[in-house]
């Protein structure tokens, strides 16, 4: 039975959240508390099964677990030449994504446990949460193009339903409506692409389709258009820049645990981009090489735009969740960039030189991003939970009560900014170095974006945690289960910080191999080779501890009598008092980078106009991007 279960796992992992999701409303009618526990049980079971499946797939070399619906596991039965059934196939990349999704969902559901207690409709919340989990798994496990569309839409519906969960806020409905319009139009465009490929080749199964596409004399126009359509659609789902506008809306309006899972839903879109460009079109590089190299350039350009526009928009936000949403977009740019570079040089000699490193970096970054972005969104949720406002200007002094949340936030912020030795640095280093070999300018942009990321998280930390207590902040730390959810993710970040090479070896390499059709893994050591140099987080961490000790010793040599007292501790305001009417003067968060934004006004004015909030214009930008990408695919 257990052996059978493992054969069935690809489908069962998708089905178990569905089973639990459909039962949750029924149980919720009996007792809301029971429904919460039930949903928790569902996610725990799913996560455990996912770990078993991940172990099965990732421990071996090029293992593909597939499951064919209703067919007793003997592969795809054929009618004529066409595979007749729907297949789920889990290779390295799928298992990698599945592990991320399961882990983040686990953290999110623990966090939700007390987070949603003060709202009504808990059973519906958990139903949609489980549905979203199932849809995410479905998107990464499916081996069938149309099935991908189905899960894409289920994911959109679940995500939008959850975005509108706080039904007392009109903005939540606005965000949900915009995201739904946006992703439905995208989904329909994807349906057209499926129709094109089906009409041309009569297949829907990705492997068969890849064989048919690679088996031609030369690329047809239909293939090029279909690739352009699919890349743009999934880039929209992933939130790449010219077509990202509804994503920050939905990210910022969704409840915090949902946003953490939303990140993985967007990453499922990223997965689909990679799956389409590598697996579907990478079957026979002699024929499709030119086309997917152009697709690689498309990904690189989308990646650069996402990185830069995302981070510069984040700098000027004053809504904490919207700020983090723009960061999510910015970080997505790194993944697109890394994998795009890998795609651009796929099949050439440069792939072994630096392309593989770039892909490793990009995919490793998916993993790191899911962890630290999930953590950051959860801390943002904790802040909003206590502060009762999302506005950074009205927060302040929360670090005095929320010590643990502050620590978790620092861990997440350091990781997202790529500060060594955090895990974000390991993947960014791989991206920096390989992209620098590819094109120095792009590498420099990638580093600049990291700097700006750090700058904006300094602003958040300053505005929310530091300073005097602002008016209307609730006292005390958040409930224990919320802390526990954050601790799960923060602990994983710390663990993976010090073993980047191990993660690359066990998780990322199988994923890269599954996409690029390459073989081999990095050596089993703690030192990560980047092609240009090497990186060992433990040595760095040791050096850092040493540096801290030396700094403390130097500090102890100092003069004790010179410590500032009284007014000497307060900020210098030209001699003026730092208090007005007994309340300390606080520089609001949105003024921290006033000079920067003022200096770049000529950049910010058009970019802010670009995010106009009008859904028609969003769709127009989507259609334009679609046109440009297809034109690039067809003409070049």
């Amino acid at each position: 039975m257990s052996g059978d279960l493992i054969d069935n796992l690809p489908a069962v992992i998708v089905a178990i959240p569905l089973l639990f999701a459909f039962a949750t409303p029924l149980i919720g009618k009996l007792s809301v508390k029971l429904s919460r526990l039930w949903a928790l049980l569902g996610v725990v079971v799913t996560t455990a099964l996912m770990y078993i499946l991940g172990w099965e797939v990732l421990s071996g070399d090029a293992v593909v677990k597939s499951y064919v619906f209703g067919a007793g596991g003997d592969g795809l039965p054929l009618i004529g030449d066409n595979p007749a059934r729907i297949a789920f196939s889990v290779d390295g990349m799928s298992a990698f994504m599945g592990l991320i999704m399961a882990t983040v969902a686990f953290g999110a559901v623990i966090y939700s446990f007390s987070f949603v207690r003060k709202y009504s409709g808990n059973d519906k919340f958990f139903t949609l949460l489980l549905l979203m989990l199932a849809a995410n798994f479905g998107m990464v496990f499916t081996g069938d193009l149309f099935n991908l569309f189905v899960w894409f839409e289920i994911s959109s519906v679940a995500v939008c339903g959850l975005t509108a969960f706080r039904s007392n806020r009109g903005e939540a409905f606005e965000a949900a409506a915009k995201y739904l319009i946006y992703s439905t139009v995208a989904g329909l465009v994807f349906l057209f692409a499926i129709g094109l490929l089906y009409g041309q080749y009569g297949h829907l199964n990705i492997n068969y389709l890849a064989g048919a596409i690679g088996g031609q004399e030369e690329m047809m126009m239909v293939d090029k258009i279909a690739l352009g359509l699919m890349v743009t659609v999934f880039a929209l789902k992933a939130g790449a820049v010219p077509i990202h506008m509804a994503t920050p809306d939905a990210y910022s309006e969704a409840p915090a645990p949902i946003t953490a899972m939303f990140v993985t839903a967007s990453q499922a879109g990223l997965y689909a981009v990679f799956r389409v460009s590598f697996t579907l079109y990478g079957g026979n590089l002699d024929i499709t090489g030119n086309l997917i190299h152009i697709a690689g350039w498309v990904l690189i350009i989308l990646g650069i735009l996402s990185m830069f526009v995302g981070v510069t928009m984040a700098l000027v936000q004053k809504d904490i969740k919207r700020l983090m949403a723009y960061h999510a977009i910015s970080q997505t740019g790194y993944m697109l960039l890394g994998v795009g570079v890998g795609l651009t040089v796929l099949g050439t000699g440069k792939f072994d030189e630096f392309g593989r490193t770039a892909m490793t970096g990009g995919i490793f970054h998916i993993f790191n991003h899911a962890l630290y972005k999930g953590l950051l969104f959860l801390t943002a949720g904790a802040l909003i939970y206590k502060a009762g406002t999302r506005d950074l200007n009205r927060m302040g002094g929360l670090g005095r009560d929320m010590k643990f949340t502050a620590i978790f936030f620092i861990i997440g912020a350091l990781a997202i900014s790529g500060i060594p030795p955090m895990n974000g640095f390991s993947s960014k280093l791989l991206i920096y170095e390989s992209v620098f070999s590819f094109n120095p300018v792009i590498g420099a942009i990638a580093m600049l974006v990291s700097l700006l990321t750090l700058a904006s998280f300094v602003k958040v930390f300053y505005a929310a945690f530091m300073g005097p207590r602002a008016k209307g902040m609730a006292r005390g730390e958040v409930p224990t289960t919320m802390l526990l959810g954050m601790a799960v993710l923060a602990g994983m970040i710390l663990v993976f910080t010090f073993a980047p090479a191990l993660v690359v070896r066990t998780l990322v390499d199988p994923a890269v191999n599954a996409l690029a059709g390459s073989t081999g893994r990095t050596d089993a050591s703690l030192t990560l080779l980047t092609g240009q140099g090497y990186w060992n987080a433990i040595v760095f961490g040791g050096a850092m501890v040493l540096a801290v000790i030396i700094t403390l010793m130097v500090r102890m040599l100092g003069n004790k009598g010179t410590t500032a007292k009284g007014e000497g501790k307060k900020p210098y305001l030209f001699g003026n008092s730092t208090e007005i009417d007994g309340r300390p003067i606080v520089i609001p968060g949105s003024n921290v980078y006033w000079g920067f934004t003022k200096a770049l006004e000529r950049y910010y004015r058009p970019v802010e106009k670009f995010h106009s909030g009008i859904v028609n214009e969003y769709v127009f930008w989507f259609v334009s991007t679609l046109g440009v990408v297809i034109l690039a695919m067809v003409v070049l």
Binding site: D4, V12, A15, F22, P25, L26, F69, G72
Partner: protein, 159 residues
């Protein structure tokens, strides 16, 4: 909500049963002819929509509807999990077992394997799933129509 004119109400009363029957037929024959759970369920849901519009009925047992919806889905996915007892998820473990529940053994004519047998009691889990999906869809669509209709109705009064 105000009921509509007597003409509409009379026609509704007359056609109610026929549409309902047609929907049930579509659901039950889903494994043999074009149609199935969703289509049949949608047809039955139109009956309720018609009732809503014609009689202006605004008191619906939403709890019952959502219970039917969830149970239908649960039974559907549960049937898939029952397949696991034979070793394979979503395995059609009823078909061809000579069970009275849609398990009739079909005599295969050579050259026409997998052909449609045109017998209602075949198909194994497929008609059962159609049935469950039918329940789910009729409840869900009715719920959608009712909720959207009541939204609009309440919105008109200016809350």
């Amino acid at each position: 909500m105000r009921p509509m004119s007597p003409v509409v109400r009379t026609i509704t009363k007359l056609s109610f049963g026929a549409i309902f029957l047609f929907g049930a037929y579509i659901i039950l024959h889903g494994h043999l002819t074009p149609g199935g759970g969703f289509q049949g369920g949608a047809i039955i849901a139109t009956v309720f929509a018609l009732v809503l519009v014609a009689f202006g009925r605004d008191r619906w047992n939403k709890k019952l509807l959502s219970t039917i919806e969830s149970s239908g889905l649960l039974a559907f996915i549960g049937l898939g999990f029952l397949g696991l007892t034979t070793g394979y998820f979503f395995y059609n473990f009823i078909a061809g077992t000579d069970s009275p529940l849609f398990g009739k053994v079909i005599e295969q004519v050579s050259g026409y394997e997998h052909a449609n047998s045109a017998s209602l009691l075949t198909g194994g889990t497929v008609p059962l799933m159609n049935l469950f999906v039918g329940f789910e869809v009729l409840a869900a669509l009715t719920l959608i129509v009712v909720v959207l209709g009541l939204f609009a109705f309440k919105g008109k009064e200016g809350d």
